[in-house]
Every structure is written in C-alpha cells, then in structure tokens.
C-alpha cells in the first residue's frame, strides 16, 4: 500500500484534534478512562481468579454500563448527528445522569 498504517493514524489524530468540538473530546477522554479501568479490572480477574464473582461482575458491568451511557451521550450531543437534533444536549446530559444513578444503584446492590 502506498500509505502505511502510521500515516493513517497520524491523519486521523490530526483530523480528530482539529475538527472535534471540545465537548466531545471531554467525553472521549471520559470514555478512555472508563475503558482502561475496565481493562484493569478484567486483567485482575484473569490474574487472581473469579472469586468473588459477583464483585468482579458488578465492577465490570459498571465500567461497561458507564461506557455505553457516555457513548450515548456523545452520540446525542454531537451536532453533526442530524437524527438527534431534536434532543437538546441538556436533555441528553440529564438522561445520562439519571441512567448513571440507576446503574450505580444496581452495581452497589450487586457488589456484595
């Protein structure tokens, strides 16, 4: 191929830095944080075994759930998404907060 993988990544990164609104970048940072937290948890479980399984599950589900909700928020807050133009970013944020509260309640219940 005339263009290798590294130039593609570099182009992607530049494009991303320039064209993405700050708001979305914040959310992306949050997503990244959730991601590495989840990976760390999973690595720990692989290392030391699944006991107690419920605690591992609740932690992991918390990461996964938060990731999903943040992703939804990002989608809804992205002005380029025409389908979600009816939903104001505030409404998306409120949904995000509400869903997170419910998620964390369930996680706390399950963590044991």
């Amino acid at each position: 191929m005339s263009t290798g993988i590294v130039p593609i990544l570099k182009k992607f990164y530049d494009d991303y830095s320039k064209n993405t609104p700050t708001r979305l970048k914040l959310i992306d940072a949050y997503l990244f944080y959730i991601l590495i937290t989840g990976v760390t948890q999973f690595g720990y479980c692989c290392l030391v075994g699944t006991f107690p399984f419920n605690s591992f599950l609740s932690g992991f589900i918390s990461c996964v759930g938060s990731f999903v909700l943040a992703a939804c928020l990002r989608i809804q807050a992205n002005p380029e998404n025409k389908e979600f133009s009816k939903i104001s970013p505030e409404r998306a944020f409120a949904d995000f907060i509400f869903a997170s509260v419910v998620l964390h309640l369930v996680v706390m219940n399950f963590i044991g």
Partner: protein, 524 residues
Amino acid sequence: MDNALKATSKVEDVYYAIAAAKNLNFNVDNDKAKTTLLEALKADETPLSQGYAFMAGALLSGDLKKLVDAVEDVIAQSDEVDGRMRQFEGGVASTAIVIEGAFELAATADKAPTINENDLFKFSNYFVNRRHVNNLKSAFYLAKVVKTLATNKFFVPVAAVRITPITSPKVQIQVADLLGKPIAAASLAVNAEHAKRTQDGATVLSKEKFTAKGNGIFEMDMQQKSNPGKGYYVVQLSASGLTAPYVGITGTQIQVKINAEIQVTDVDISVSEREQSSTPRSERVPANGMLPNVLKLDHHQKLALTFKVSQKGNAAAIAVHQAFVRLEHGTSGEEIIYMAELDPSTKLYKMDLDVLSSGKNFGFVSGEYKMELIVGDAVVENSLVWPIARLNLQFSEQGEPARRFRDELRAKPEIRHVFRVPEARPSKAVSSAFTVLVAVPLLVLLVLWMKLGANLGGFSFSPATLGFHIGLGAIIGLLYCYWTHLDMFTTLRYLTIVGIVTFVAANRMLRQKAAQRTKSAKSD
C-alpha cells in the same frame, strides 16, 4: 309394680317387676303377669327378651307351656362359632341370660329344657372361652349360668381334661363340671376308644380302660399298654356309667406326644476320584468325636457321607425331620448346609459332595471347612449338632468370601467433616496494588480534561446548580452508605427524596443552561 305390668312395658321391666314383687312377698296375679309377659314378648322377640321372659316365667306358677315351648325356638336362633361354640348375638350377657332362663324355667316347670346335648356342650365351651369378661353385668350373669349348669338337676356338662403334661406317656385325665368340681361318681368309668398316631393314622390302642385314681382322676399308661413309639397321638375317649344329670366326655380327644432319644451311628466318610466308579474305602468317625486327620479334596475328587439314625435301644434305622450336613469355612465363617437324603434301600442317610460341580455353591472359597451333622425332630429329645470332620477344599477357581451380612451392620468408618475450603484469595499486596491501579486512570482522566481545557468557567452559583451538585453528591454518598450498612428499602426511600430534589434542581439548571445557549447562539 302394678304399673310395670302395663301392656306397653319392656320384657326386662316386667321381669324386674315380677322378681321384685316375689322378693318382697307381694301377691302377684299370675295370669295378669303371664299375659303381660306374652304381650311384651310379642312386641320384642329378640333372644335376650325371651331370656328375660324365661326368667320371669320361672317365678310364676301355672301353665307355662308357651314359654317352655319357646325355648327350643330360641336355641335355634343361636349362632355356631368355629364348630365348637354357640352364642347369641349380644355376647356373654345375652347368651347367659337365655340359658339361665331356660334352666330356671325348666326347674319351675319340672321338665328338662329342650336343649340338644351337643348344643349345650357348645354353649358351655362358649362360656368357658369367655371367662375373662370385661363388664360387671356379663360377669354376674356368666357366674350365675355356670353355677346353674353345674348344679341343676337336668343337664350338668362335664369334661375330661388332660392334667399331665403332653409328653408324659402316663396319661392322666380329670373329669370335672363347669365350676371345676371333680366328679367322683363311683360308677364312672372312662375308656379310650382308640389312640391314633397323627403321622400315619395307625391305631395303636383300642378300647382300653383308664384306671380310676379317685377324685375324678383316671390314668392310663400308653407306653405300657402298647409301646407305640415316638410321635403325636390322639386319644379318643368315651365314658360309661355317667349318671344323669351328668353329660359329656364321649367323643373328647386328648393329645399325647411321645418323645424318643436317638443315636447317630455308623458315620462313614469316603474320599474318591471323580472318575472312579468303584466303592472307595471309607473312614468311620469315632463316636462323639471327629476324624483326626484333615481330609484334603480338590476339584478332581468327591466325598461321600453315610450315617444311620436310630432310637436308643433299638438298632432299626428311622427317619427324622432334620438331617443336615453343615460346612463352615474356618476363616470367614461362611457356611453352606446340605440336606442328607434317606436311601430307601439301605435306610441310611447319605450325602455326596462333588467338589468340581459344587464350587459355585461355595463361591469358590477354598480353605479349611468344618463339617457338622445336624439331626433333629420334634419328638426327639436329644437333637444334636455333631462336628465330624475337617475338610480342606481346593476349588478350580479362586473366589473371595462374600461380604458377610454382619459386616454391613457394624459401625461404618467415621466420616470426618471437612468444611469447604474457602477459595484462594490473592494476597493483600496484589489486591492493594490493583486497587491503586484502578484508581490511577482517574488521574489520567483529570489530566486529560485539563489538557483539553475543561474548566469551571461556566459554573454559575445559582441555587439550582448548587442544588443539583449537592443532590448528586448526596446520591453518591447514599450509594456508599447502601454498600456499607443500609438495605434496599431504606435506600430507595432516601433515594426517592433526594432524587426528586436533584431532579428538580437539574431541571432548572439545565433549563437555564439551555436558555443561555440559545441566547448566545442567537447573538452569534
């Protein structure tokens, strides 16, 4: 009492009235009493009422023909039980009252009661059988009727009962009435019509006399009279010179058992090859002892055993109920029992043991076995178990002695309970390290956000915003409390309250934000 003699009274009441009047020496109008009695009887014709009527009639005088004739009909209504007893429905009291009434009536009318002798015996058997009564009324009437049956002048049933033990060949019987009083009439003689052996029906005695020993006791020595040999015997009796009113004895059967002592002799054991057909040499087991040497047998050989059972003092061979040969394994105690068969030609008991074909029965357990003779019978006094030899059997295959049944009943090995070992947990160092590792991304996030330029510039200090942030913090705190010590219900309650506050605050705050945004967008 005159009132009691009304036409509507029960028979029982009429009887009580008449009896009471008689006891008090009142004048009773016989005819009126009779008609009342008969009318009451018409209304209630059960045997019990008839019994009361007989007893009442016995107290009256005059023509009692109707009642006397009724006795036969009433007796016909009784039920036979087991072919030996007769009774009326209603049990001891009813039966006793009827018979008592019949006899009392007979005494007054001076005419024997119309009861068949056989039926009377059956009634007597019933009374004797029911002598353990439960209630007072039955006891009273039972005692009354038994006394009447022993002392009346028409029929006194007597019985001959064996008073010696069943195994005594000198048989003694005693003749007594229902109350147990012996009948010592001088003219009474008891005979044995015949004595039959139960096993084969052979008659061993016929028309022998019993010797009178006084006080109603009669004796006969069966051994002396006929020497019948061992077995169960039934002696049928008859009596002569039994004067009226006594009835009975004839047809009674007495059981006698004559025991014998046996001896087991001529116990011969021989070991030979399977293929060998000629009679092998045999060894005789010493009397009351054992063969001194252990007989070795393997699967090429067979063993033959013969022995003779006879009565002491008589060399003739006899048969007994039980003639077994028992083989017990020395170490495991397992046993096998063979039946010895009576050879009809030689009249000796024999048993053959073919080692090859009987291996299965032994479970192929080789080793030393003890051989015993078991000889017994119901009429033998000295049934015996006699160890006669030791055998060493070697089977073609090897088998294990089966688990003995008793082993199953012994205490099983103790079970030590082991609590579930908790799963291995990682060491504290590892888990602490990972806790830190999980917290680290948070720092990374904050750094990233700062780099991206997140700031609190747009933070307005309106009550809505503050309320929202405080509410959210409260929710997080509540979740932490839920994790540590609360339960779901209280948490939900608090959550509802805080949630509503936070929601309202959030609503306001976001509305303000939205208004700001549209304002700035418009102004752009």
